[in-house]
Symmetry: C2
């Protein structure tokens, strides 16, 4: 079994032996090839792409255990072809990600980070001498993909008095929110879009200039999914031109690179892909990851297997 | 009728004539004395103290209309003695203040403003290379005064999975939260204290060093009430010494002065008394203020009269 950087799995568990890429002086490809025959499992922490080439270099590989919810960095076609199974962290981060969506939204509307910078820079010298923010109550919030995380976001926004809607191919039964058949219709009818969908060919750049123009000049976008859900270059243009009002971003196209044009904008709140990064959730994820590994090596049912079809 | 700076009341309403202190070249005392005989109402916007001396200089004064929720800047004894009535903005800001309490809490726990500064300063060069925050879910939150705003805060925090309690002299009927008889007991049993009480002789410096030591080194305090609820000097000491973990502050002892020691602390989020300051609520407050004024001059029931006893 092999694991890359930042894992918290610091101890050896009986049913398997751990090999660490990040404590080896060798580059990852050399390290992998020197252990290739013995590696049956890979623990993927972070977003190092688990490509077809990576997988083909490990002839004994049977499982990729992801310590993440998103698994778009794993080549599913190759896993399917080779019969490699993939697991993820299930709902380990769900609450934290939903919390982040809410705090980014209120921070953008109420200018929380901007006002904090304003005070720290010594500019607060007169009461109420700063631009006012906007009220959350009665804002119309459209959730792009009302999956497990989107639903947690909706549940949290409900008592703030937000009016919530979502888009999907067909209305979901038993969901009390307004339905829209597509993102353009959702953008046309809402003040805020929250992106909580996974990244697929269909959702790549799902927020393009047309969607932002439709959302309009008071519109706010919160992205807690993946950077590639938004056409990042057009988003920067739209912010600078006032096509939309503000954004709260936890994810970016090419992390950790962030478009520098955003650094000077006040209606923007930036977070370094920290949606699930709380001390408590990382402990939780460590447990889930270890449990998936143990289950695999002990031939027991996996906890969060991914459907590759 | 006289009104001080920043009011949005820019037009004249039939039943009264408006006099503006902030457009007059005269200092406020001179301005008031030159119109003293005719002034029957004062609109108080901001926190200019409406002292006994201020009131005694206006022999015809019958009402002080406050465009704020807090009215601790008005000398109630003198109003009572003179038979001057006082009104406030009722619940005009309630939702915004509650929203701010929640966003300050999550911002402190999840380091939102600190991470935003971190990215803007160009320090984000490696994924997950920053201190992690803490999870809101299952945090024990003690609300100091479960009044109208405290209740709105509790309602909002409920779906985040917080465990909520409050202190008061006796348990409130029909309240589903845990009860504590005093703030020390509340601090001992909680991770977070949210101060949403009004400032009185009893609540002045209600959060002293003993309370902070009792709350403990992982403790977070959110103050959306008045600066004087906390012993500010001891709070700074406690933050620097690690007696408590973090604070989110919308109010300060001597606004707009903020203790400079706070500017360098990462577990602190600062807001410039902006709890109710949204464009939407200010419009709402303007309406409430005008309605109270009109009601007074038309001899109709006031909308939000304050009990002075």
């Amino acid at each position: 079994m092999v694991t890359n950087a930042h894992t918290r799995i610091k101890y050896q568990i009986k049913p398997f032996t751990l090999l660490y890429t990040h404590t080896s002086p060798d580059p990852i490809p050399d390290f992998l090839s020197s252990h290739a025959a013995s590696i049956r499992a890979v623990v993927s922490v972070g977003r190092l792409p688990i490509t077809a080439e990576f997988i083909s270099n490990l002839p004994s590989l049977e499982i990729v255990v992801c310590a993440s919810v998103g698994v778009d960095h794993v080549d599913f076609d190759e896993c399917r072809r080779r019969g490699v199974v993939v697991t993820n962290a299930g709902d380990a981060y769900g609450e934290d990600v939903a919390d982040l969506a809410v705090v980014l939204l209120i921070s953008v509307l109420r200018r929380i980070s901007a006002l904090d910078r304003y005070i720290r820079s010594g500019q607060w010298t007169r009461l109420w001498d700063y631009p006012f923010g906007f009220k959350l109550n009665k804002k119309k919030v459209g959730i792009v993909e009302l999956g497990s995380i989107g639903s947690l976001v909706a549940k949290r926004l409900d008592p703030f008095g937000c009016i919530i809607s979502y888009d999907s191919r067909s209305p979901k039964p038993d969901v009390p929110y307004f339905y829209h058949p597509d993102i353009l219709s959702l953008a046309a009818d809402n003040d805020v879009l929250i992106l909580s969908c996974s990244l697929t060919d269909e959702t790549h750049n799902i927020v393009n200039r047309e969607v932002m123009e439709t959302l309009g000049k008071n519109g706010v976008i919160i992205n807690i999914g993946r950077g590639e859900l938004i056409d990042e270059k057009e988003m920067v243009n739209c912010l600078v031109e006032g096509v939309i009002w503000g954004v709260g971003l936890d994810v970016f196209d090419n992390e950790p690179e962030v478009p520098e044009e955003l650094f000077g904008l006040e209606n923007v709140v930036l977070s370094p892909h920290s949606a699930g990064m709380t001390a408590e959730s990382l402990n939780n994820v460590t447990e889930v990851t270890l449990s998936n590994l143990k289950a695999f090596f002990l031939d027991q049912p996996l906890i969060f297997p991914i459907e590759l079809d």
